[in-house]
Amino acid sequence: MIYNKEMETMSRADMEALQLERLKYIVRYCYDHVKLYHDRFDENGISPDKIKTLSDIQYIPPTTKDDMRDHYPFGLFAVPRKEVVRIHASSGTTGKPTVVGYTKNDLSMWSENMARLIAAAGVTEEDIAQICFGYGLFTGALGLHYGLERLGAAVVPSSSGNSEKQIMLMKDFGTTTLIATPTYALYLGELAKELGYTREDFRLRIGLFGSEGCTTELRAKIEENLGLFATDNYGMSELMGPGVSGECHLRCGLHINEDHFLAEIVDPQTLEAKGEGETGELVVTTLTKECLPLLRYRTRDLTRIVKTPCECGRTTARMDKVMGRSDDMLKIKGVNVFPSQIESVLMAFKEMSSHYMLYVRRENFTDNLEVQVELSDASLVDRYKALENLRSSIRAKLKTVLGIDAKVTLVQPKTIERFAGKAKRVVDLRNEKA
């Protein structure tokens, strides 16, 4: 179902006209209400009136996560305190969290955007949706929560953790839609099996996975275990939370809510615009946000955008699944390595579980990568040769895909940590990143 036909099927020309009109407005709004933008425009000799076409956006200096940290907590808010109705913060793995605020209109816009993506995945008001994201400062749970309610689905805010109870509720309530991180969904599937349940005990049909990357291979595994159809959605708390873009049931890219978010793809080094279909860093301008408008926010996520209409009927631009982060990218022996590439390789081996860890070390001035995987096929343990063959075929496949040699370590089943929130699968033990 298309939730907002007008906005989601608008002609490209009309959409671009709407975006330009909103862009002019938001640039002026930022200049007038946010000191950072006011000062930065003045320092660079830019006037808000300089925006005459969409491509004039290139004159605006980008906003970064550091800008948000430097103005912690409320320094970038564009509205007086009485208009702020909600405050969230990012998980902030290093230092202070990134704080985001919302006005009433922001929350309504967020719900609308989420409802569109949820409907695009195939969820209807008949569905029972269990949200296994942790509630709290994290935007994921409440974003999905409001969107699902806007659409009319029944929300079960079960939050994360207490996995056995999650499974009980899933079965007893006849949950049809599961909202979780891919890692947690994977774990719930494993646990359900361990507890003696089969797919037929559940009525799951749709999974909305987010908050961390998920390769097609991992997703297929989760779908098979739980008997559901899963779509990806994309967002980040700085921009609002989830709801920036999401897949329709055809899963050929994530439809961007372009009437609210203006997306560009740029070269992460030079910031030069990339052409349609070219891979680069996603830079997003919020067109309608009131509390925390951001101009050209550097997401650090690498993807590409196509603007051809989708067979689902939507005309909105589509971005690819994020292939990695420009700052998550590991440089090992001078080679760019994305954890997602490694995951794709590992998922093809049925002898192992889907859990893994990556360790990067520097010994004698040389980088090395260790990939730890859990052995799950016990029938191999009788023969040393079978285990060695498994190890060397994983290693050979990694070498083909990554171009570097990795050490593969087999570990005992169920010894790699199961993450209920965002998975932290990469441990970089080098003193400084190359």
Binding site: A378, S379, V381, D382, L387, P413
Partner: protein, 141 residues
Amino acid sequence: MAVKQLSVFIENQQGKLVEIMDALATNDISIRAISVADTTEFGILRLIVNRPNRAERVLKEHGFAASLTEVIGICVEDRPGTLRDALRILSDAKISVEYVYAFLNKEVNIAYIILRVEDNDTAQTALKAGGVRVLEGEDIN
């Protein structure tokens, strides 16, 4: 019925062997023979126990990758040359042995030998034809 051998994957980490032994001991499982193949990365522990099915279940419950396979057990007299004679039968039949280990049981002057070969049936037939006493699963308790 051939002899059931329990193979367990163990990471090279201090205390792993104790963990396994503890799980078996508290479940009243007695070990008849043990062999550990070591490598730099991981080891494979091979066990002959009195209650193989229970032992497999217990170790799996403790999170170990463990599996049962059928291996050949033979009895030879405890004097020089008996193992040579038995192995020559296999060699003549062009059957290769992947690994071997031995243990003593309650029978006096008799050694039990565990052999891992590709094809148990062919090997057993050849050994029996050559007059070697082949163990049945029930012999180990």
